[in-house]
C-alpha cells in the first residue's frame, strides 16, 4: 500500500502522530477493561481477577455470533455484551455473594479461582488452539491523512470506546441506578437504610462492567485477528495496572489510566526498546504503589463507584 513519504522534521512529527494513533487504540481497549475492574472494586472492594477472562468469553461470543449466526460486527458486539453481562451477574451470585461477609483475601482467592475456571473451561469446551477472527466481518480500509495512516479499525475502536464511556457516564451521573451505585459505594449500610437494594445494585455493576469487557474482547478480536482461551490474562493485568494508575475505584481514573498505559507502552516500544515495554508497564504499578497508592485521581475521601 503506497503512502505519502516525508523526510526530516515532518517525518519525525508524523511518526510521533502515528505512534499516538497506535497508542490510543491500545489504550481504548485497556480503558474499557479497566472500567470493569474499577467499578467492581469501587462497590465491593474486590479485585475481580476473572475480569480479563470475561473479556475473553466476550471475544468468543462475538466470534461465534459472526461465524455461526452470520451477524455483523455491531450485532456481535451487542450479543457479546449481553452474554457477558449475564455471565458477570452469575459469577457474582454464585462465587462472590456467599463470601461477601468473609475476609477480603477469601474473595480475592475465589476471584483467581474463577479466572482459572473460565480459562480452562473454555479450553475444555473448544480446545486450546487460537481461532482466527473472520476478516470478512470487518474489511480492512485505511486512510492516508497526509502521510498519517489511520485504519478503519483504529477509528472503530476509539469511537466505540468513547461512546461506551459516555453512556457509562450518563448511567452513573443521570439515572437512579447510577445514583444507587454511587450510594452503595460510599456507604453500603446507609444505602440500605435509604431503601436501596444492595444486591440488585451490585448485580447491575457486575453486568455493566462485564459488558464493557465483552466489548473490549470483540475489539481485540477485530484488531488483532486471533483469539484464544488465555488471551485475557495479559490485557487483564495491564488493565489492572491502568485502574491502579488512575486510582482504583474511580471511574474517570480508569479511563485516563487506560489511555496513559496504552500510549506509554507504545512510546516505550516506539522510542525506547520494544523489549522494555512490559517492564515499564509493570514498573509503573510499582512506582504508583510506592509514591501515590491512591492513584492519579485518588483522594482520601470522595465519591467512588
Amino acid at each position: 500500500m503506497p503512502f505519502t513519504v516525508y523526510k526530516g522534521e515532518v517525518a519525525i512529527m508524523l511518526e510521533f502522530l502515528q505512534q499516538l494513533v497506535n497508542g490510543l487504540s491500545l489504550g481504548a481497549i485497556y480503558a474499557l477493561i479497566a472500567l470493569g475492574y474499577t467499578m467492581v472494586y469501587g462497590i465491593i472492594m474486590l479485585i475481580n481477577f476473572a475480569h480479563g477472562d470475561i473479556m475473553m468469553v466476550g471475544a468468543f461470543v462475538g466470534f461465534y455470533s459472526i461465524t455461526l449466526l452470520g451477524t455483523n460486527i455491531v450485532m456481535a458486539m451487542i450479543f457479546a455484551m449481553i452474554a457477558c453481562a449475564v455471565l458477570g451477574v452469575l459469577i457474582e451470585k454464585i462465587a462472590y455473594r456467599p463470601l461477601r461477609k468473609s475476609t477480603r483475601i477469601a474473595a480475592l482467592i475465589t476471584a483467581i479461582g474463577m479466572s482459572l475456571f473460565l480459562e480452562y473451561m473454555t479450553i475444555f469446551l473448544i480446545g486450546p488452539q487460537q481461532k482466527v477472527f473472520p476478516h470478512s466481518a470487518f474489511p480492512h480500509k485505511e486512510y492516508d491523512l497526509m502521510g498519517l495512516l489511520i485504519t478503519n479499525k483504529d477509528i472503530f475502536i476509539i469511537i466505540s470506546a468513547v461512546v461506551l464511556m459516555l453512556i457509562l457516564q450518563y448511567i452513573i451521573k443521570m439515572t437512579k441506578t447510577g445514583k444507587a451505585m454511587r450510594a452503595v459505594s460510599v456507604d453500603r449500610e446507609a444505602a440500605v437504610l435509604m431503601g436501596i437494594s444492595v444486591d440488585k445494585t451490585i448485580s447491575i455493576t457486575f453486568a455493566i462492567g462485564s459488558a464493557l469487557a465483552a466489548a473490549a474482547g470483540v475489539m481485540v478480536g477485530v484488531y488483532y485477528n486471533t483469539i484464544n482461551p488465555l488471551m485475557g490474562i495479559i490485557p487483564g493485568l495491564k488493565a489492572f495496572v491502568a485502574a491502579v494508575l488512575g486510582g482504583i475505584g474511580i471511574i474517570p481514573g480508569a479511563m485516563v489510566g487506560g489511555f496513559v498505559m496504552g500510549i506509554l507502552e507504545t512510546f516505550v516500544s516506539g522510542y525506547g526498546s520494544s523489549l522494555y515495554r512490559d517492564a515499564v508497564a509493570f514498573g509503573v504499578l510499582v512506582l504508583i504503589l510506592l509514591i501515590k497508592p491512591t492513584g492519579l485521581f485518588g483522594k482520601d475521601t470522595g465519591e467512588k463507584v
Binding site: 500500500m1 503506497p2 503512502f3 505512534q19 476478516h135 488483532y224 516505550v268 526498546s273
Partner: protein
C-alpha cells in the same frame, strides 16, 4: 528406630538398583556383526505427542533400507532394521536405547525431537555406539554443555536452528539484493534469538547494515509501535524469526502500516494459520527457510518423492526426507570405515565430506553438525512455493 532401618534398607535397595543399571549398561556385549546382517536401531516416536514426526521418519528410513538391501546391501551384508517406539518420552527413549544396544545394533537412528535425543544420548555414549539424529535442531544436542566438547558418538543430518539465520541472510543479500535489514525477533525463545544472531552475523559479513533490532515476546498481539519505528528506517528486508502465532499478526500489521519490504523467517512460519490470520495478499513477498521441499525439481528429490508416494501413498515431509538421509549417511560411513565396528563408524561419520543427501549436500563439521543446503519457501497468493535452494 524403625525409620532409620527403613532408610538404610531403601538406600541399600537403591544401591543395588544403580549397580544393576551400571552393570547392565557396561555389559552390553556387542555382537554387532550378527552373521551377514547389520543391525540398525530405529528409536523413534510412533505414539504420543509427536507421533507423526516419528512415523514419517520411520517410513523414510525404511524406504532407504529397502533400496539399499535391494541393491545388494553394504559390504555384502543386508541391513536389518529394528524399529522401537519411544512414545515421545525422553526416559522411554533411554530404555529403548538400552534394549537396542542389547540387541547388538551398530548405530541408532532417532529419536526426532531434541529432548528425546538427549534422553537417549547417555546410553549410546557409554556404549560407544553412534546415534544419528534426523531432526534434532537444538544446538546443544551434539555438544556437552558443561565442557563445550563435542559428543563423540552423537551426529545429526539436519541443520541446527540458528543456521537458518545464515541461510536467510544469504538469500536476502544475494537473491533479494538487500543492503539494509531490520530484525524483529521473538526475544523470549532461544530459537528466535539464535536465528537473529546468525542472520546478523552473516548479513553484516556480506556488507549489509542492520538498521533496527526489535523484539517481541510470546503471546504479544500488538506490534504496531515497533513496526512504525522500523518503517521510519525504511529497510530493504525485515527478518522476523519466531513462531507463526506471533508472526502472522505481525506481518498483517506491518502490511497495514504500509510496509511493503520483503520479510523472512524460519521454519516456525510453517503453518496453515499463517494464511488464515495474515491473509494471502499480505503474505506475498515473504519467505522462510526450511530443510527441504517436496516441490524441489532436483532429479534426486523427484525420484525420492515418487518412490515414497508409490510405497506409502502420501507426500514425504521433511521428517521422511531426513529419516531417509540418516540411513544413507550411516551407509556411507560404514562404507568409508569398511567395517561395522561402531567406533570406526563414528570416526567415519565425523569425517563425512560432500555427502549427497535428499536434503542437500552435507559436510559434517567439528561439532557434528552438517553444513548443508536449505530451501527458501515463498508465500505466493497464500500457497507455499519453493523459491530456491541455498548452498552456503
Amino acid at each position: 528406630m524403625r525409620k532409620g532401618v527403613l532408610r538404610r534398607l531403601s538406600v541399600f535397595v537403591l544401591m543395588v538398583f544403580v549397580l544393576g543399571i551400571v552393570v547392565g549398561c557396561g555389559g552390553g556385549d556387542q555382537k554387532t556383526g550378527d552373521g551377514d546382517k547389520i543391525n540398525v536401531g530405529l528409536n523413534v516416536e510412533l505414539s504420543g505427542g509427536v507421533a507423526s514426526y516419528g512415523t514419517n521418519c520411520r517410513d523414510g528410513a525404511m524406504l532407504a533400507i529397502e533400496e539399499i538391501n535391494a541393491a545388494g546391501g553394504v559390504l555384502g551384508k543386508q541391513l536389518n532394521p529394528i524399529v522401537r517406539d519411544c512414545k515421545s518420552l525422553a526416559d522411554e527413549a533411554m530404555s529403548v536405547s538400552a534394549a537396542l544396544v542389547d540387541e547388538g545394533i551398530v548405530a541408532q537412528i532417532g529419536p526426532l525431537t531434541s529432548s528425546n535425543v538427549q534422553g537417549s544420548t547417555p546410553v549410546l555414549m557409554d556404549n560407544g555406539i553412534p546415534l544419528i539424529a534426523p531432526a534434532a535442531t537444538a544446538p546443544n544436542v551434539t555438544v556437552d554443555e558443561k565442557t563445550g566438547e563435542t559428543l563423540k558418538y552423537i551426529f545429526r543430518v539436519c541443520f541446527i536452528d540458528p543456521f537458518q539465520g545464515t541461510l536467510m541472510a544469504e538469500f536476502a543479500a544475494d537473491n533479494l539484493g538487500a543492503k539494509t535489514a531490520a530484525i524483529y525477533k521473538d526475544a523470549s525463545t532461544d530459537y528466535g534469538k539464535g536465528l537473529a544472531e546468525y542472520f546478523k552475523k552473516t548479513f553484516e559479513a556480506k556488507g549489509g547494515t542492520i538498521v533496527a533490532e526489535e523484539g517481541f515476546v510470546k503471546d504479544d498481539r500488538d506490534f504496531k509501535a515497533a513496526l512504525t519505528r522500523i518503517r521510519s528506517k525504511n529497510p530493504d528486508f525485515i527478518y522476523v524469526p519466531g513462531y507463526y502465532q506471533e508472526v502472522a499478526p505481525l506481518i498483517k500489521q506491518a502490511r497495514e502500516l504500509g510496509i511493503t519490504a520483503p520479510m523472512g523467517g524460519g521454519d516456525g512460519w510453517d503453518s496453515p494459520d499463517m494464511v488464515s490470520v495474515a491473509t494471502a495478499p499480505n503474505l506475498n513477498n515473504t519467505y522462510f527457510t526450511n530443510h527441504y521441499s517436496s516441490q524441489d525439481t532436483d532429479p534426486k528429490i523427484v525420484a525420492f518423492v515418487e518412490a515414497y508416494k508409490a510405497k506409502y501413498n502420501k507426500e514425504p515431509d521433511a521428517f521422511a526426507a531426513l529419516g531417509y538421509d540418516a540411513v544413507q549417511l550411516l551407509v556411507q560411513a560404514i562404507k568409508d570405515a569398511n567395517s561395522t565396528d561402531p567406533v570406526k563408524i563414528a570416526e567415519a561419520l565425523a569425517n563425512i565430506k560432500d555427502f549427497e543427501g535428499i536434503t542437500g549436500k552435507m559436510t559434517i563439521d567439528e561439532q557434528h553438525n552438517p553444513v548443508k543446503a536449505g530451501v527458501i519457501i515463498e508465500f505466493k497468493d497464500g500457497k507455499q512455493v519453493m523459491n530456491t535452494r541455498i548452498q552456503p
